[in-house]
Symmetry: D2
């Protein structure tokens, strides 16, 4: 019976001591103006008992505002940091291809969709063209349900403001007039290029149950992230209340953080946990912080969150246990690709039927294989694989691999178009290397960006075992011993790199 459930629920959230339920307990916190809508409505004309739907009384606990009407997501599609350069040379982080068929931002947008959040604003300004195009083709019009949308808000000039967005806080502030179009209760702020699966509905539930002003999601899983410069670290008490927000900008504090982290499983009063950059904030709080309290703040984490703490606002942490990758380096990106190959249950799962990953729907032809030995790899749609060996490799859409090629431990991003090899384009670039991987070419531990043209008898093997190297003029760089061939680069026949 729902009444009993309710009682139990109450007991959950308090502390286990028996509770007498009084009418006021039905109050749903944090809803303000929506109370009228979602609170318990008794029928105006109370029907006679004999025909009353006694079991149909709406359960008050369900009358929180439904997520798909009351939360809007703000996704940062890009950043100006160049930690994934050269993959970001012509695109933003969110638009980097991953796992053959996807772009990084698909993970976050899919999280939203699978969490019933269908009002999604993507704020972009840095190399945003391919990201905007991807979002528009993948999510416009369909799939987000009536009233749902992914709306790209590109940085723009206006009579009032001629400049670019000056940081995450500035970007949100300048877009507030758009973001306020729908009367949502909370905003969910999300980085657009992280890889993880999260049911944001649980964050929202926790936020509402605890009546927080701000909830920050923190990674309680693998702790390596808090050693990373640039990661915000939360100091939380045993109630998961955030006491302090600090940015690990150099080695020294990190080590102390690590030390403290290592001790957090003992009975210490505080823990230090890396923030995932995910913020759930009440709408009024957001407006108040950005416009009234900190109208000059540019960065959200270091300025607005710290400011909120200094104002004594209720800032809570939500602890997330699962896989999380913030793509802080080329190596991390490479590893994330490798992990999606190895097993279905480590790393990020692109094949989960219960929380599918969405992207542009396509109608490519099937992959054509002439004679290939393929081991521990994933193969995107519409590839053409000739007599070749592929091992531990992510092969992207429309990749063409020619006879005798050997690819190992690599990420091949594929091609945007099918190149016709009937001589049609020969007049233009008759001597040029065609898109794809040439005959008898060998590639090991490399990332080959889209539309690259790798010639015949090429070896991309980091022959000099270089750790870091900038050979951009030659079409590639080396980062953490990983060879990265640039987008549309041409590697001539017989090159040995």
């Amino acid at each position: 019976m729902p009444q009993t459930s309710l009682m139990m629920t109450l007991q959950f959230s308090s502390s286990g001591t028996p509770v007498k339920i009084q009418a006021k307990h039905f109050l749903i916190p944090g809803l303000g103006r929506y109370d009228h809508k979602y609170s318990l409505k008794l029928p105006s004309k109370f029907p006679k008992a004999s025909i009353f739907n006694s079991h149909q009384i709406p359960n008050p606990i369900l009358h929180q505002p439904p997520v798909n009407q009351s939360v809007a997501a703000i996704v940062f599609g890009d950043g100006s940091e160049s930690r994934l350069y050269p993959l970001t040379k012509r695109r933003s982080e969110g638009a980097i291809p991953i796992a053959s068929n996807y772009r990084l931002i698909d993970a976050v947008v899919s999280n939203c969709i699978n969490s019933n959040i269908n009002k999604i604003y993507a704020l972009t300004q840095f190399n945003s063209t391919s990201l905007n195009s991807h979002l528009s083709r993948a999510y416009s019009g369909a799939g987000l349900g009536k009233e749902g949308f992914v709306e790209v808000i590109a940085a723009y000039q206006s009579p009032e403001d001629q400049g670019w967005f000056q940081g995450t806080a500035d970007a949100i502030r300048r877009c507030l007039w758009v973001l306020e179009e729908y009367p949502v209760a909370e905003f969910l702020v999300l980085p657009g290029h992280h890889l993880y699966k999260m049911d944001y509905q649980k964050v929202i539930e926790s936020h509402r149950n605890r009546k927080s002003d701000i909830t920050i999601v923190a990674s309680n899983g693998i702790t390596k992230r808090d050693q990373d410069p640039g990661v915000g670290v939360l100091k939380i008490n045993t109630e998961n209340q955030v006491m302090q927000y600090s940015l690990k900008s150099n080695k020294e504090p990190v080590n102390s953080a690590v030390a403290e982290t290592l001790t957090r499983c003992s009975d210490s009063r505080y823990s230090y946990i890396p923030s995932m950059g995910i913020y759930l904030i009440n709408r009024a709080t957001m407006v108040n912080l950005l416009n009234n309290h900190f109208p000059k703040a540019m960065d959200f984490g270091t300025e607005v969150i710290r400011g909120a703490l200094s104002l004594g606002m209720k800032v809570e942490a939500y602890l997330f246990e699962g896989y999380w990758e913030d793509m802080r380096s080329i190596e991390a990106f490479y590893q994330a690709n490798m992990e999606c190959i190895k097993k279905l249950n480590t790393g990020y799962n692109f094949c989960d039927r219960d929380s599918p990953v969405y992207t542009i729907p396509r109608h490519l032809p099937p992959t054509i294989v002439n004679d290939a030995m393929i081991t521990d790899s994933v193969i995107g749609d519409g590839c053409i694989l000739s007599r070749c060996k592929i091992k531990s490799t992510v092969v992207g859409m429309r990749t063409k691999i020619r006879d005798g090629a050997i690819i190992e431990d690599s990420v091949i991003m594929g091609s945007d178009v099918y190149q016709i090899e009937d001589g049609r384009e020969s007049s233009v670039k008759s001597t040029s290397v065609p898109i794809g991987i040439g005959e008898n070419t060998e590639i090991r531990k490399a990332i080959v960006d889209k539309n690259a043209r790798i010639g015949k008898n090429v070896k991309i093997i980091n022959k000099d075992n270089v750790e870091e190297g900038d050979r951009e003029a030659n079409g590639y760089i080396i980062s953490g011993r990983i060879m990265v061939v640039l987008r549309s680069a041409e590697i001539p026949d017989n090159s040995i790199l």
Copy 2:
């Protein structure tokens, strides 16, 4: 087992002190194989108490399967009864235009969408072409969210079965192999041409809470419906359990039903309430009833429901208080149109922002008005209104009303296309009356079906005050003193009807 999971949850939330909980309280009925999915999953690595999200424990009551994954709707798009003839001459009931911009079936499909039911099967066979086309254009591809669809299942021939659907039960039985594509928990069976607003989620909640086999929605609002021949009447006890299902097929039993109905507010043990033809049925129960118990049953209400009662199944009524119109006659259809004009809060509300009514999205030009006096009317998109008077009238899309016309108390369904009046088509039908309402024509208490061509100086006023009349050869019939001009009919200049 779900019970155990639930018990564990309690123990978490009460801080570890053992709690005695009895299994029966937590049993979630009817889920079978899905239990595993929605039950509490323990994290593999149990976190320490100090950093445990104590307030994040999922609320057990939410672990019912979400409606949008666990319920599929089966909508009957048409029927072979001719109670709305001649509006059904070339279309099924569900495809009849209503309120300028809509079709009848939009009301039911919109109820589904607004209730988060996004798996919708529409079963059709009778004059189904325009209905299929409407559903395909209005609901395909977009708006129902990822995984959602409105799928039209037209009656078809197969090697096993050459015949048409032989009734509602037969139709469902023959489509079961399609309907079982998704592992839903319940089917919601709906007539496609009724007009009402209902949150089906409440029906589902009641059904699950009461662990019913079948829940029938019954109209507890306006009681006139149970006087109507053809309506099923439920005998229910004070617990809303259905004791008997009877069909009012002639006057006599109705009167006794009325008599009983009138006494139901007294302390009688039973009530008699008209069924709305809406059934929520557990998936396994449906399969069992149709294939095993009653493999020859053709009609759902009189055969399957009665059969379920005779088998002692748990059949419950859900009482619905609101506006409900089952479109049992031309007059009822006419009144429903009139009611949507009069006030915003009587009749069916097409303008409700919280439960919008969906239909084909269009990009028609605005309505052009030359010089019109318009009173208590609704005007569809893309009309062209010349010097005319319109009162208490529903004017459909692309209606053209010419100089001097007077329209009162009428339903003008409009036109499918703009007719060009530049002489282009004059070679074909140079002498024909153009689509729309001609100069100085007067129309009172009439329904003018789509694409009708009403000439100049016509009077459609039921001049002889006929109650019922079949003048189909002349392009109209009279039903309940309402003049009904047929689709594409041509009424010559100077006619007085």
Copy 3:
């Protein structure tokens, strides 16, 4: 006459010297009521010579009605013949999967789209559910341009007619009221399950230039088809005028046809060429033939075309040279799949960038390969291939092939869903064989229909070398020595077939 118009153009475009133009020269044949629209419009105010766009005068030859506004295609999505049984047990021919990612009907619809025909009616009645669903998901809403559509017209009951379509002619006749919605100039009648690439615009051009009443497309390529019982054969003269239409319904006439065919390269006056069942017919001619001349005709070819010939109408043949497969048998279907593997330029080309084949857009994960040797095969989207050998095989979407499996010379149609193997469904069918191909199973020269469950250590090798065999109760049949495993069939572990 078009020639004359053309001449005028030449004169315009040459040098501006005065030209005598006679009004009759502007006549565009075969357009009837549309003349006004596409004929040469002179600007009402003729501009002065000095600023006259002398070179901008519209070229009369271009003022034929554009194809995308003036031709509607009528596609027969299914037939009641069972030549592809058991692939047609639960679906119509047009819905049979082919080449991993497609359905047969995609070929014809893509031909239409690539020929700028965007008004497409698909007439269905036989096992039509999956075809209707496919068409709705693949082509509704998007891609056909504003004003374009693929509209499914399922057989339906009406007050006037209670029966099913009685043949191709009957089907068109009963749908004429829908087909006439748009004022097209010609109808293009198409079988929905043939495999070929044709630019219908050339057929239309020929039809209009020759002012034909009916143009029939005939296969002038591979002549084996005219040996096939059931194929209509055209007798044409040297002007490609059709003299006679005969149906090869038994062996004897075929042989004589063959004989005649063999002699057609000599200087005979007539040729005999197989009809492809593709008819381009003027709209008025269609209406006239079906309603006035042959109101009882049921079949289009044998009754209406022959009737038109007997009436002396102008019936012409358009000769088509390319690949054409009419899917007359399981073996033909099997061969068509094999041909799409072998080379890119024999058989039907699914990868042609200039005439792409459309289908349902999907966002499946990439194919995951553990350790596979793949030779001369095509691999659909979202497969999971373990340690296996695949040779000369079409592997359909979401196919799961387990360790040790060997597949050769086969067509695996794949699965509609990912089956979760985490034990979730074990309670239901704990002992059942999972979807896909089991461990150490061997399959040779077989067609495995969708969702089949092939156990471990199974051999599907036609061990007794049977030519034809009906083992439907055991989940398969044998046709032309090809093993055909039925849709959703279960082949137990260790079976040897």
Copy 4:
């Protein structure tokens, strides 16, 4: 030369008499690399005469590249000029609502669609949010056919370039890497906020026939535009060749231009005609001009076009006779709205069935009218009109006009949302004026921007007959005696403006 080819065709189609054909005749000009594709392909195996489709030889003239594959449009969605301020305060010119249901940019995009151009890039940077949102919702996914798109390219930062677009030429140059994605033959450069109907196919035909490098469309209709400062004026000779491009930036040259214009109907050798800012340019020419010849040019007209002339390129004018409005002032915008009301055949026709205007498809409820006298007005979708008088007014979507209101000679842009008046929002702004037009309010010769809140008993009548006035703090400005109420402005009860 095409003429020669054409002649050939004639000979083919006449009677089969032998024709001398010389190879050079097949040359198709201006196609470069595409020659192979669109040139006449003779069948490899030349069939025997007796069964040769003699009439089916493809007409060489048709083998120009089809427009929908060979031309891409570049639309400038916005500008930083403030001639339409305050309508551009929060949106770019292209996003200004017009004619109730549309945005300005819909006119140009619809021209493209109706001209079979389906590759459309919209370059935006100034107040672009609402424009981007409109384009994405109106044109994404559907309607442009397979391969078609409207792609928004917002100004962005990149490692190479941190700044905004510095002008039209700079914008195109910086986007060339995107614009070159498809191998089009020509680019069509278009201002996004002009109102006119043009079949761009005729411009393309003229451009190709004349083998121009650049074709500029010039308005040969109403000449008032060339008196306007800021309009480019072309000096052309009697062959329509452009001799000079000048910008009318002050009064003096305009007068002389007018003087010259007035004399152009006499037998002068040159004419002066205003450019419409529409340029058709060969792809290679575009790249060459922007990157090689004028890599610093910012403006397209004054720098690139003049530069092309100085280089001796072939620059031609295409003369356009029809209605054209470049929206150079508030008054011009106001007049354009008024003209779309008055008659169907003056001004811009939004209701043309042959060249429809597209926009966001919507499913709004019909307009509800309580008691209104409406004269010479257009009424958008979903309005609620109480007892009011409306004359010579454009009433936008979802406009609410309350009892006693009188609106004349005005443009009411309507509302983005339905405001609920059930007290729900009263807690927020209990004393605020609701969206729409209040009771007994009178509005004459005004533009009321979206979401404005006009109180009761207000008079917006320009009571002091002001010519120009900036009262932005009070929610309105006056421009050319036209009252312009700002977006979301609130005009309190009893105000008299």
